[in-house]
Symmetry: C2
Subunit: 249 residues, 2 copies
């Protein structure tokens, strides 16, 4: 265990964080020995920390004997500003957009050089999409991502342009083409993608601005086909995004 | 600081948990000194733990200088089974219920002697309700709560019946009346409330069963008036609840 002599308090906190950090979307349930290994802790130490975390409700033991993130951490996560301020403000506008379109409706923020999905509404007839709540995807290949990239500071654009991965045959990976798309986001007030992230899925997205005019999030819709409905979808998104912006705490 | 001699590991974990536990729905942003006081830690210890938690992303510093729950804890909470299994499975059914009714749609589980709201969909025209995602309310006064109470083990019923608080003038607080209501939940397959939690809000709710037939959650709808639409709402809820139950992982 690194550093368990010089800064005992820091080390102890880092052990707790190593246990918590062992969970990710691909590792939602872990045995004690997997937890110890992924957290790089001895089994004894892991056992002690896990027992305390479980008693508090940060972890929960499943019927399989494995551990999962507990309801108390779920509770705690709901207090994060991204949830309480943005998600709760946007939710009723998103419900109404969904009811009007029956399309997948998404709310996202920029997290470094990725787009982080904060909320997603979809029905059983909606186009299947890759993103779930909490998912992170590249900025350049999604409608909400293009909006956020168009309004990102220069260093983020540089970083994003250095990693233009191809996801489908339609993903825009040429810097010049993407650059012109981002200019059009500024000019037209919306971004669009055609099958850049998933085949059969097109998206339009608009910025959400706070009272100072800064772009703090993007609101988007995913549909099978943009051709006929785009103007109507863009209008509906812009009205909703203005409503969200005005209602932010 | 209690117990920082006998079990140094335990104590260190408990300090981290004390900092995290200082946040609740009424305390979403806290200064360092408030955090230290609420966690019962010295300012020095709180400062050290908070610095580590912030560096990891468990806490975030706001522009006000106060601390809030960070995006990484929000992420982590999304991995909890209540979110990944139940909420994600139910979400598309809830979206479709919302689109069909434009009413507030709620998904809840029992957490001890309270009802815990796991998801809520509402539009701008929906009846305002008390509950938010993550809220806990008494079991006896809400539609989803009555469903969960009707299917709760005997000790939970005893505990719930010992605390029949009156929330509005219409809250059912007589044990005999509530008991007959719970019998009707079993007989009819749904629960209803009329202004028991908020004036102007009525609800109907049905159980969600897993493959073994055990009731694991309740799905409900809140409307201004039940008289005309109840049979239609109950049918829609029952179809959706069956769909969720069959789709659970």
């Amino acid at each position: 265990m690194a550093g368990n002599t010089a800064r005992p308090g820091a080390t102890a906190t880092s052990r707790v964080l190593a246990i918590l950090g062992a969970f990710d979307p691909d590792h939602r349930e872990l045995s004690l020995s997997e937890l110890a290994r992924r957290a790089d802790l001895s089994l004894t130490t892991a056992h002690r920390v896990v027992a305390e975390l479980s008693a508090w409700g940060a972890l929960s033991r499943r019927s399989s004997g494995e551990y999962a993130v507990g309801r108390r951490l779920w509770d705690l996560g709901l207090l994060a500003p991204v949830q309480t301020n943005l998600r709760e403000t946007a939710a009723p506008f998103m419900s109404d957009l969904y009811a009007a379109t029956l399309a997948t409706v998404q709310l996202a923020v920029r997290d470094g050089v990725e787009v982080l999905y904060v909320e997603r509404l979809a029905g059983r007839a909606s186009v299947p999409v890759v993103s779930q709540i909490g998912s992170r995807l590249p900025l350049h290949a999604t409608g909400v991502g293009k909006v956020l990239l168009a309004h990102a500071p220069e260093p983020v654009r540089v970083a994003a342009f250095s990693r233009l991965t191809r996801i489908t045959a339609h993903t825009v990976t040429q810097p010049g083409v993407l650059s012109r798309q981002l200019s059009r986001v500024h000019r037209d007030g919306f971004a669009q993608t055609v099958e850049e992230m998933s085949l059969g899925a097109c998206s339009v997205a608009v910025p959400i601005r706070d009272r100072s005019g800064a772009v703090i999030a993007a609101l988007g819709i995913v549909v099978p086909d943009l051709r006929r409905h785009r103007p109507r979808l863009v209008s509906a998104l812009q009205v909703a995004a203005q409503g969200v912006g005005r209602s932010l705490p």
